[in-house]
Point group: C2
Chain length 308, copies 2
């Protein structure tokens, strides 16, 4: 696999559907992935925060990845999340993704222990690299301190880039802090920086950002994709304004439940409205408020297109 | 198993030894457990925070538990940690512990998602209870917000006690907040409250506390056990003062690494000085400071007794 082949653009942290008994709904998952690609997704960051990946067992994650590839989703568009608390789990998932030719992996730092040193996180990544021992490995760091409680600091990233060139190649910045995204873009030229939201997508693209990886792309990927395709066009700012407003309306609610509620309506498929504990589905009142806010923005609830 | 048979007293959140290549050292683990029992531990809360349990795979945890029981450690003194981020993992570990007749399980809430509702945590526990479906199940809640970032609030505990009587029977309170421990003791008579430290052990015992589950019991269980045995005696306050000072000296350093460094010296076994990333072993200078502080307190580094 050549270094330049990885997708840039909008990557979707794919929602994971569950059956009423909370079992993974593999069929609906594959169908959703194909629909997202048909709608314009450049890649699929399966098994992230929006995917409830940490609510899945290791076996469930591996099985879903196999299923996707078996059903024709190209491994070359996949960036599965593989970072777990336990080194053996991270190694197993990462090795599996590399062996299946996924273009990269999105790696959370081990997130149980808080207040750990940069040294400790560096050692974790180093152990994974050494144990996976495969030239095809491409690691995208997953920086999401509001959830993980553990961060990839700028000095740590600098060290990782120095020690693992061509392996540590990018980052998803879900800090929610545009200053941090700017600092990443300014500090590490060539490093693939994906903001974890489309709120500042155009700003990021103008500074050399790689695109975005955003929860709301599960329900709005076509519009986000258009900003990326037309980022140098005359309408770019207006298009950006549109996706930022949609994002703003959705992120007032718990992200996973809100996206599942919207998707259930967009796809006319109430089965999407199931989350695993500790998450809860959106209550009826919140759902009504969310839908009303989106309707006020002329959000398109009618996209029931056939999948690729 | 009768309800009254569970141990009260000092339970040790057992350190997990690793080989140089970071593989679990099962033999040394069993030996350490036997030594702790010989030193006076009333129970073993294996697979907690101090055990680096979240740095172990599910298979490693199950295998270690099997090994302990096979080697004669009575299941009736074991309270393994079983709370994971993913429901299938929590169910698998909990079912395994119950089937092996462990007297209880210590259950972290799912800890990846932050800001989850009490409803969501309640649903998590309810799913585990329903899926394990075994009358022998005894759940001790593991409240450690500084690490988990997710808490068992008093109203949530009240609800759990109401919905799962005889199943949710106790708590390890590692909030580090004595006011919270007091509120638990005052609010829920009969509920087994174990402070996560010996700092206020005597205060807790005087208010009906069940004992303590403390990291530093890995290296100081004999002295902590004595406070529990003699809590109504004339020397109780002096004994309490002693264990609190020892704890105070150790907790200035990262707890897992500090306890492993002390144990390596106490057992004259440098192999103990290995942690899994993201934790790091204590640097030489910190170790010297720690040992000096303990020597000033006349800490007994010489207990190399034979195990039971």
């Amino acid at each position: 696999m050549k270094l330049d082949q990885y997708p840039r653009g909008v990557l979707v942290p794919v929602l994971t559907p569950f059956q009423r008994d909370l079992a993974v709904d593999a069929e609906r998952f594959v169908e959703h992935c194909r629909w997202l690609l048909a709608e314009g997704a450049n890649g699929l960051a399966v098994f992230g925060t929006t995917s409830e990946a940490n609510s899945l067992s290791i076996a469930e994650r591996m099985s879903l990845l196999e299923r996707l590839i078996e059903h024709g989703v190209p491994a070359g568009v996949l960036m599965p999340g593989t970072g777990c608390c336990a080194l053996p789990d991270t190694v197993a998932l990462t090795r599996h993704a590399v062996e299946r030719n996924c273009f990269g992996v999105l790696m959370l730092p081990p997130f149980y222990y808080k207040g750990v040193s940069d040294d400790g996180i560096h050692a974790s990544i180093a152990e994974v690299v050494q144990r996976v021992a495969d030239d095809r490995l491409r690691i995208y760091l997953y920086h999401i301190p509001p959830m993980a409680g553990v961060a990839f600091s700028l000095p740590l990233i600098e060290r990782l880039l120095k020690d693992f060139p061509r392996i540590v190649v990018g980052i998803k910045d879900s800090s929610g802090d545009w200053n941090n995204t700017q600092a990443l873009l300014d500090s590490f030229p060539g490093f693939e920086v994906f903001p974890g939201s489309e709120t500042h997508l155009l700003d990021a693209l103008r500074k050399g950002g790689a695109g975005c990886i955003s929860a709301t792309a599960n329900v709005n990927v076509a519009a986000i994709s258009r900003v990326i395709r037309e980022w140098q066009g005359a309408d770019a700012d207006a298009l950006q304004d549109g996706i930022a407003r949609t994002r703003g309306a959705i992120q007032k609610f718990p992200m996973v439940a809100a996206n599942k509620a919207i998707l259930a309506r967009v796809r006319d498929d109430p089965a999407w409205d199931v989350v695993r504990p500790p998450l809860r589905p959106l209550a009826a009142e919140a759902k009504a408020q969310l839908f009303q806010a989106l309707e006020a923005l002329q959000f398109d609830f009618g996209r029931r297109v056939a999948t690729v």
